[in-house]
Amino acid sequence: MEYLLIIVSAIFVNNILLAQFLGVCPFLGVSSKLSTATGMSGAVCFVITLATVVTYLLNKYLLIPLGLTFLQTISFILVIASLVQMVEIVLKKVSPGLYQALGIFLPLITTNCAVLGVALTVVTKEFTFGGEAHMLNLGEATVYAFATALGYGLAMILFAGIREHLALSDVPKAFKGLPVALITAGIMAMAFLGFSGIV
């Protein structure tokens, strides 16, 4: 039940893109075509989940015992950067097909603030899923990260679908491109507000 709450909350209620504004740059950058949006979402899903697990363990078994939590930001970003590199290399060797699909998006992910954002949120924020306020344990953190990434993918793919249509419609000149995309995102965010309060 608690996991279900985490999932619904992370995908719909606190959608990472439309409610928390993490990872908006690539959201606007690669969402003009449905196929690239799908690829990016897949890569983000993969990296967010992996990075959160690794940084969670790093934080719990290295930084906290050594009293070095002030190094969270710097160590997390280094872990994420090397992880992305490693995933790229491994993927290339092990699954060329998947690499073809996700490969070009991987280098972009290091500077996607959604990854660092989720990793930091998980180790610094208390949650109230299932009653009391508590820090997430590893299982919950993993589910939270994965669900958040799914929410990212959902918003991204929906948005890309809309933008493909926008590209064909007659938009006033000053609105063309990003402005109308942002306004569309605003309307989507409004729709997602409707989910608030259900968890």
Partner: protein, 200 residues
């Protein structure tokens, strides 16, 4: 000659404000732009925090750039930027804890703000220390200015006040303080910018 040099230096700063405005022209660093501009003062604080990191990392990177091998350029820059961000985190927690609490997650996330790494890549690593510092100030001011403007608009519409000074009793249009307002205000400001300020 001297005159031209002066105006060049000056344009380093003014470029960042309008011509290369990070928010309205380059459309970089959108995450903090949307998330922290719930009021004018919040937007300004976020802008200043980013400017702090931008100036220091620009200076430091322009100093070390000649010695950094090309292949490890990006990791080195990220370490430098992350260091200054952590520095900023510690200083803010110590001296302005309330501001730190308001901006929260978005202070550590300056690390992945494309503006900072972007300026390191595009400017600081091939220019002198002085010029890089000025560039940091210029771009930082441009970022602060746009965040403050967005903050002012959202605060006026959303809470009926400017910099905390209330001119409408009761509430504003709450949607503008919440997530959708951020996207919509930025969208319409971009439209205005395109229409009136952008030079073709």
């Amino acid at each position: 000659m001297e005159d031209r040099k002066m105006s060049n230096k000056f344009s380093l700063i003014t470029d960042g404000l309008v011509k290369n405005n990070p928010t309205f022209v380059l459309v970089l660093g959108i995450c903090p732009t949307l998330a922290t501009t719930t009021s004018a003062i919040n937007g300004m604080e976020m802008g200043l925090a980013t400017m702090f990191v931008l100036i220091l990392s620009n200076i430091f990177i322009s100093l070390i750039a000649p010695m950094v091998p090309d292949k490890v350029r990006i990791p080195t820059y990220i370490v430098v930027i992350a260091t200054f961000v952590t520095l900023l985190q510690l200083l803010m927690q110590a001296f302005v804890p309330d501001v730190y609490a308001t901006l929260g997650l978005f202070i550590p996330l300056i690390v992945v703000n494309c503006i900072v790494l972007g300026r390191a890549e595009a400017f600081a690593n091939k220019n002198s220390v002085g010029d890089s510092a000025l560039d940091g100030i210029g771009v930082g001011l441009g970022f602060t200015l746009s965040l403050t403007v967005i903050g002012i608009v959202r605060e006026i519409l959303g809470s009926g006040s400017v910099f905390g000074w209330k001119f409408v009793a009761g509430d504003g249009i709450l949607a503008f303080v919440m997530a959708p307002g951020a996207f919509i205000v930025l969208g319409y400001l971009l439209v205005l910018f395109n229409k009136f300020l952008a030079k073709k």
